[in-house]
Every structure is written in structure tokens, then in C-alpha cells.
């Protein structure tokens, strides 16, 4: 095991290998059929958690369609992500029922606690925060998906509970004030 590494910009050599191997296996399953582009992208995302640029290049090459087209499909659909997700994925429902019963307040609470705006991942890659348009659980709104588990009737206090459950330390009154230099 190596010691902690710096976050890296470009995928490393061994990471590239993994990407190529995973994409290969998905491509084989769908026989590089261009019509299966969406299932291929879904398959790759299921394996890698996102669609790396290298993967899209490799797919374009194999199914013989222009790279921009693969990219076009990848960006058209909300489900696909072009950046790696956090270890824990938090998706706040912003469907009608959830919105009207306080979904925005829940999103605000997560943004405040995680200190990232919606759509981003925390610098330590622990959490990513996204919105989702209705998971079909509207009767129990507002709803949050935490690593694919549905949390129903979420209040801002529950937001803290969810994060505490993952071992996140929430700023206590004193720390926060010290940080911001507001202590008398």
C-alpha cells in the first residue's frame, strides 16, 4: 500500500489500463453495435462510476462514430456524469412534490454542510451532491437518495444525521466561530 497521494489531474498509467479493460468488456458485450451506444455508456458508467474522456474516445473508435456524437449523447442525458463521483452520492429530489414540501431547503442544508454547490464533489472526494427529478416516492416527500437508498420525509436535522452517520464532523459552535475569527 502506498502512502496518501496528491489528487491527480490526468488518469495514471494503471488507471488508464483499468479504463481500457472495463470499456473493452462492455464493448464486447454489445458487440460494438452503434445502436447500443446508450447501454454501452450505461455499462461503462456502472463500472467506472463516470464516463472518462478516454473511455468515450475508445467507444467512438470501436463503434465507429464520431467522437462528438458520443460526447453529444453523453451530455444530453442527465444520468451520465463526466467527472468521478464522490464515495457517497447524495441526490436530493427536486420533483414537484419534494420541491413544494421543502426540497430546496434540504438541498441548501447539504450545500451548507458539505460546503459545495449542487452538482459538485467535495475536495476529499467523500461526497457528491446532485439533484434528481423525482424518484417516484412523492407520497413521502421530501426525499433524498443516499447511495441509492431512499430517505423519506427528510428535515434539515436529518441532513446532519445522514452526514454524521458517515462519520463527518459537523462544525460545532466554537470551532465555527474561531474559524471565521468572529470570537469575542
Amino acid at each position: 500500500m502506498e502512502p496518501m497521494e496528491e489528487p491527480k489531474e490526468e488518469p495514471m498509467e494503471d488507471e488508464l489500463e483499468i479504463i481500457h479493460a472495463e470499456v473493452d468488456s462492455v464493448l464486447k458485450r454489445y458487440e460494438s453495435n452503434p445502436e447500443k451506444l446508450i447501454p454501452i455508456l450505461q455499462g461503462v458508467q456502472a463500472k467506472l462510476g463516470y464516463l472518462p474522456k478516454e473511455a468515450m474516445l475508445q467507444i467512438a473508435d470501436a463503434v465507429q462514430i464520431p467522437e462528438v456524437e458520443v460526447y453529444g449523447v453523453g451530455t444530453f442525458y442527465n444520468q451520465f456524469r463526466l467527472n468521478p463521483p464522490g464515495k457517497h452520492q447524495i441526490k436530493v429530489c427536486m420533483g414537484t412534490a419534494c420541491h413544494m414540501t421543502g426540497g430546496r431547503i434540504i438541498m441548501d442544508s447539504f450545500e451548507r454542510r458539505l460546503e459545495i454547490p449542487e452538482g459538485e464533489t467535495t475536495p476529499d472526494r467523500e461526497f457528491s451532491l446532485e439533484r434528481v427529478a423525482c424518484v417516484g416516492c412523492c407520497a413521502l416527500a421530501p426525499v433524498v437518495l443516499v447511495d441509492e437508498e431512499v430517505e423519506a420525509k427528510v428535515r434539515p436535522t436529518r441532513v446532519d444525521g445522514i452526514l454524521l452517520g458517515f462519520g463527518m464532523e459537523l462544525p460545532s459552535a466554537n470551532n465555527k466561530q474561531k474559524e471565521e475569527g468572529r470570537e469575542e
Binding site: 452503434p34 445502436e35 447500443k36 451506444l37 446508450i38 447501454p39 455508456l41 450505461q42 453529444g72 449523447v73 444530453f76 442525458y77 442527465n78 444520468q79 451520465f80 427536486m94 420533483g95 414537484t96 412534490a97 420541491h99 413544494m100 414540501t101 421543502g102 430546496r104 431547503i105 441548501d108 442544508s109 451548507r112 454542510r113 434528481v132 427529478a133 423525482c134 424518484v135 417516484g136 416516492c137 412523492c138 407520497a139 413521502l140 416527500a141 426525499v143 441509492e148 437508498e149 431512499v150 430517505e151 423519506a152 428535515r155 434539515p156 436535522t157 446532519d160 459552535a173 465555527k176 466561530q177
Partner: protein, 634 residues
């Protein structure tokens, strides 16, 4: 009956008898059904199920625990049904681990049915009322929801034992033309939103030149706030498979797709299992039930784009492209998937098919209204007490739906509007409650029935904000092909955002109206054509709310964040309580020298926590609009 018809009938009877024998064995002993559809799971059904299993083992009982779908009473999840020979089948609501343990020790191990936890009995008896003894049960008339929550969706024998797939066997004997004639005669209209006559669609496709033909089930359920299709897929997938297979037989298709929304993973899993089991039983695949008809179904997982619910965009998506709608005509029934004749029907539409084939067109027409026969399935959500699924005859009024079926508004608040028809629909006020709901009635009011999403709004809901919400949605989901839809909705969204943030101008209302008309005319598909509806209906019925925002910087519903501030009313606050302080995530609530509490407006992030916390104590936290700029009070 023809010789081949006899063969089919025999093959079917054999499957059914086997299934019934298996189920009869189950009935002899006590069993527990736990509703583990998505709504049940969200409420904790899996933990409840585990408790049942553990306690049953502890008491060394011979009791089976089965997973079922959703009975529609989502407000009372997790729900459980217990069958014990000698007792009526009883349904229990809001079951937690404690209640589950009691039900095992008191009822299953002994003979006390714990009536204090029971909701209703499933059949009439001398001990406990049934669902039809409550208003919801009186007004509901179930066709497609009948078996939901009562059969194991992962075991085809449950469906077969209840006469499932009878309609398929019958259809194979009737012949395609008679099947289409029956559906046409039933006047079944598509439940995906547009209400197009299903029989005519099928006939057009059957007569269209070109092979092979395709059938596609639209399970994209894009309306954010609707969950009828999800519940049907998770609770009774075979009902849909049977309908889809009959549709394929009628038009002469050998291949079918079910396009399921990516956000519904459980539905996809249950559907997969159902398809496999149907194949094993010879109900799908080569020569269905021994007939000359072969048919198979594939699941296509959507990728989260609302516009893909539109049929031409959906086809583009299955073909591997970005889901961008195409001009119609030609309609998919003439030229669809791969340019071949294709029918696309909604989950509910197809789920009615087996019932119509079994009971006949006249039976179907005896329910509902002359132009919209049958029932309508609604997903009740928002500020209504009885959230969940309800199936009522077409022509039922919104008032019945909200007050009798849905049991009225939560927390004794005042009703304000129903949002019906999703992003294409509108918000209808109190007087519209007496409209009978069918495909045609709501159009006049500027809304539409849509696919069945119904969000109830109360006095705390801002009508400008909901209009903004829907515009944000359609703006984001516009595929960008039509300029008016792409740019017009953006402009409307900007204006609405300004209004909700206190920057509205007097001319904005007229401007919104004009833009709305342009977008309606200038858009190709129904996404753009109907996108302005939520704005138009809210202006029409709630104009004064727009004016309050624009002229006074005031949100009458106290919802728009930029137009409110939170305060603690000293007269109501208690010196002895500091629950609000504990609830505040940003230490904005403080104790004044006189021990009462107050809120530092600079620090307050308007998260609503203190208000909710105090609601059960002193109701001392209040919102004010227009916002108080400085700490003006004592």
C-alpha cells in the same frame, strides 16, 4: 374453438392449475405480506420485514414472509397484510419494528389480532371493518390496481393463480382482428397524457406496410410528482407483460421494448424477473403457449431526460441517439423504430388490456364517462392527508379525489390549488374542484389530465414559485431543437426568478403572457407547446399573488426565500425552552437577556428548522413578508 386454440387453452390451463395448487398450499398456513415497493422501503419496510423473519424464527413458527408491491396507501407505509386461517385477512399500516414484533408474539404465536394496529380487513367479516367502510374505499373502483400489494410480483404463479394470462390465451384464440375490434369498441384511451384512442393506433399500425413491426411500452414516467407507473411495474409487472404481448399479437410484432426510467431501479429488477419467469413458462419467446405466435421483450433503461417520454424522442433514444423529437406525421404507427410501424403505449394503457379482453368492451364502457371510459389512476402527493395511489372512475370530481379519497388537507390548512398534469398541466383553484375529471374536461380550464400526477397545494404554497419551478424544469429539459422552446422558456424563467426574488416589474405579467403564446405556437413537440401552461393557469387564477410579489415585494404564501424573514414572537416564546437554539444549524438563534429567544437575521439561513421544532411546542416562530430589513422588534 380451433385445434390450435384448444392446444393453447390446454397449455394455459396446465400452467394455471399448477399455480393454483401451489397457492392453495400457501393459503393453508399463516403468512405475512410486506409491501416493499420503493415507497415502503423508504418508510423502512425492509427493517420491518427483517423483524418479522427474526421473530418468527425466535418463536419457531411456520409462517412465510413474502414481499409484495404497493397497495396505494403510501401515507401508511410500511404496510403489512397478515393471513391466518380462521381470521379475516387484516391489513396493518405504519408498522414499525416494535409493532412487527407484537404482531408475531400476540397474533401469529397467539390469537390476538392486535386490532389497535389494524387499518382494515380485506374481506367482509364480523370482527373488523374493510376498506369499503371508509370513503376512500367507497369512491375507489380498482381495475389495474386490484392485485397491487396483494400478489408477489416476483412469483408468476401468484398472477397465474388469479386468472393471470387468461386474456392472452383468449386473445390467441380470438385472432388479431377481433382483439383490435374489442379494444377499439372499448374506447380505451391512452393513459400517457394525450388520451389518443388505443384501438385506432393499433389498427393503423396493423394495416401499415412494412415489417417487422414493434411494440414499445412507455415507462419513462417523466412527470416529476407522479408515480403510478412505478407502482404498477413494482407491484404487478405481469399485468403489463400480458397487455404488451396481446398488443404485439394484435399488430403482428415479434419484438417489444419496455422503456423504463433510470430512476426506477427496483422496477427494472422486478420487471427483469417477471420477463424471465414468463419465458420459462412459455408465455414469452418462441411459439407463445404453443401457438404460432412468437414474441419477446427487452428492457431499455432510460437515462434521465424528460423529453424522451415523447414518443419520437423515445424511439431516437432506443436507436442510440440523443432523444430529440421528430416531426409527426409520419406517426410511429406508420414509421417508427427503424422506420418500421411501431406502437407506443403507456404502462397503464397496456395494463387495462387484459381486463378488457377478459370482461369485454361493454363492461369497460359501463365505467367512467362516455368519451373517457374506464378508470383513472392518480398519484396523490403534496399537502393531502392520504398521499398515495388512487383509482377512481373517470368523471369523478377533483373534490371527491382530494377530500373523500385523499381525506382532505394536512394539518387543517386551507386548500389553495391542485397541480394536475405535471409540467404540461396547470394549477387549478377551488372552484375547479367540482369539475369531473376526464381527458376533455380539464383542457378548458387550461390544464390537462396528464398521466395522473396530482399535487395538492395549500395556503403555504406560492403560486409564482411553482410556476417558476416548472419553467426551470422545462427549460432544463428542453432538447433545444426549437428556438422558441429553448430561448422563450429561458426568458420566462428569468422573469419568474426576478419576481420571486423581489425584482419583478409591473409589465412582467403581460410579458409572460405574450411569451407564452409565442412558445405555444413556435414549438414542435408537446413539451414546448404545453410548457407555458403552469404559468398561464397561475396568472389566470392567482394573479393577485403575482401582483403582491411585484408591487409590494411580498410573498403571500411566505414561501419565497428572498421575500421573507424569520422571527420569534416574544409573547409566545417560553423562557424555559431552548429547542430552537438546538435546532439552528448556524447559531442564529440566541437567548435575550430576558431569557426569551430571538433570531439574528444576519446569520439566519432560513432553513425552517426552528419553526418546525417550535410547531409542536409554542408555535412562537413566524415568518414575515415583506422581509424585515433590520432587527426592528424589541
Amino acid at each position: 374453438m380451433s385445434v390450435s386454440g384448444l392446444k393453447v387453452e390446454q397449455a394455459y390451463q396446465q400452467l394455471k392449475i399448477q399455480a393454483q395448487q401451489k397457492l392453495a398450499g400457501l393459503q393453508e398456513k399463516p403468512y405475512v405480506l410486506v409491501g416493499t415497493a420503493t415507497c415502503g422501503r423508504a418508510a423502512g419496510a425492509l427493517n420491518v420485514m427483517e423483524t418479522f423473519c427474526n421473530e418468527i424464527e425466535k418463536h419457531q413458527l411456520d409462517v412465510k414472509v413474502l414481499e409484495v408491491g404497493c397497495m396505494g396507501h403510501c401515507y401508511a407505509e410500511p404496510m403489512v397484510v397478515i393471513n391466518k386461517p380462521g381470521f379475516p385477512q387484516l391489513c396493518y399500516g405504519s408498522v414499525d419494528e416494535g409493532i412487527a414484533a407484537r404482531l408475531v408474539s400476540d397474533y401469529l404465536a397467539n390469537d390476538d389480532p392486535c386490532f389497535e394496529f389494524a387499518m382494515a380487513a380485506l374481506e367482509p367479516n364480523d370482527l373488523f371493518p374493510t376498506f369499503s367502510d371508509y370513503p376512500r374505499g367507497v369512491y375507489e373502483q380498482k381495475i389495474v390496481l386490484t392485485d397491487c400489494g396483494l400478489i408477489d410480483p416476483q412469483d408468476i404463479d401468484h398472477y397465474l393463480a388469479r386468472d393471470g394470462y387468461t386474456a392472452l390465451a383468449k386473445a390467441l384464440d380470438m385472432g388479431p382482428d377481433s382483439v383490435i375490434a374489442e379494444i377499439k369498441n372499448s374506447k380505451l384511451r391512452g393513459r400517457g397524457g394525450a388520451g389518443f384512442p388505443t384501438g385506432i393506433k393499433w389498427e393503423t399500425c396493423k394495416n401499415a406496410a412494412g415489417t417487422p413491426k414493434y411494440v414499445i411500452c412507455n415507462a419513462d414516467e417523466g412527470d416529476p410528482g407522479a408515480f403510478m407507473d412505478r407502482a404498477l411495474l413494482e407491484s404487478n409487472p405481469h399485468q403489463l407483460l400480458e397487455g404488451l404481448t396481446i398488443a404485439a399479437y394484435a399488430i403482428g410484432a415479434a419484438k417489444g421494448y419496455i422503456y423504463v426510467r433510470a430512476e426506477y431501479p427496483l422496477a427494472i429488477t422486478r420487471l427483469r424477473t417477471a420477463i424471465e419467469q414468463a419465458r420459462e413458462k412459455g408465455l414469452l419467446g418462441e411459439s407463445v403457449l404453443g401457438s404460432k405466435f412468437s414474441f419477446d421483450i427487452k428492457i431499455f433503461q432510460g437515462s434521465g431526460a424528460f423529453v424522451c417520454g415523447e414518443e419520437t424522442a423515445l424511439i431516437a433514444s432506443i436507436e442510440g441517439n440523443a432523444g430529440i423529437p421528430n416531426n409527426r406525421p409520419p406517426f410511429p404507427a406508420i414509421s417508427g423504430f427503424h422506420g418500421k410501424p411501431t406502437i407506443i403505449n403507456n404502462v397503464k394503457t397496456l395494463s387495462y388490456v387484459s381486463h378488457i379482453i377478459n370482461h369485454g368492451a361493454d363492461w369497460f364502457k359501463s365505467i367512467g364517462t362516455p368519451n373517457s371510459p374506464g378508470t383513472a389512476v392518480f398519484a396523490l402527493a403534496g399537502k393531502v392527508v392520504g398521499t398515495g395511489l388512487a383509482e377512481v372512475p373517470m368523471g369523478t370530481t377533483l373534490r371527491t379525489l382530494v377530500y373523500d379519497v385523499g381525506n382532505g388537507i394536512k394539518d387543517d390548512k386551507n386548500f389553495k390549488a391542485v397541480q394536475i398534469g405535471g409540467p404540461s398541466g396547470g394549477c387549478l383553484p377551488e372552484p375547479a374542484l367540482d369539475l369531473p375529471i376526464d381527458f376533455d374536461s380539464l383542457q378548458e380550464a387550461g390544464a390537462m389530465m396528464g398521466s395522473g400526477g396530482l399535487v395538492v397545494l395549500d395556503e403555504d404554497d406560492c403560486m409564482v414559485e411553482i410556476a417558476r419551478f416548472f419553467l426551470e424544469f422545462t427549460q432544463h429539459e428542453s432538447c433545444g431543437k426549437c428556438t422558441f422552446c429553448r430561448l422563450g422558456t429561458k426568458q420566462m424563467l428569468d422573469i419568474l426568478t426576478d419576481i420571486t426574488q423581489g425584482r419583478g416589474k409591473p409589465e412582467d405579467i403581460d410579458l409572460l403572457w405574450e411569451l407564452a403564446e409565442d412558445i405555444k405556437i413556435g414549438s414542435l413537440c408537446a413539451l414546448g407547446k404545453t410548457a407555458p401552461n403552469p404559468v398561464l393557469t397561475t396568472i389566470r387564477f392567482f394573479r393577485s399573488e403575482y401582483e403582491a410579489h411585484i408591487e409590494e415585494g411580498r410573498c403571500p404564501a411566505l414561501m419565497c426565500k428572498d421575500l421573507i424573514t424569520y422571527h420569534i414572537v416574544p409573547e409566545k416564546c417560553s423562557k424555559l425552552c431552548d429547542a430552537c437554539i438546538g435546532s439552528c444549524p448556524v447559531e442564529a438563534v440566541y437567548t435575550r437577556p430576558d431569557m426569551l429567544k430571538a433570531i439574528d437575521l444576519e446569520k439566519c439561513v432560513k432553513c425552517d428548522n426552528c419553526l418546525v421544532t417550535c410547531l409542536t411546542l409554542y408555535q412562537a416562530v413566524a415568518k414575515k413578508s415583506p422581509p424585515v430589513v433590520e432587527e426592528g422588534e424589541s
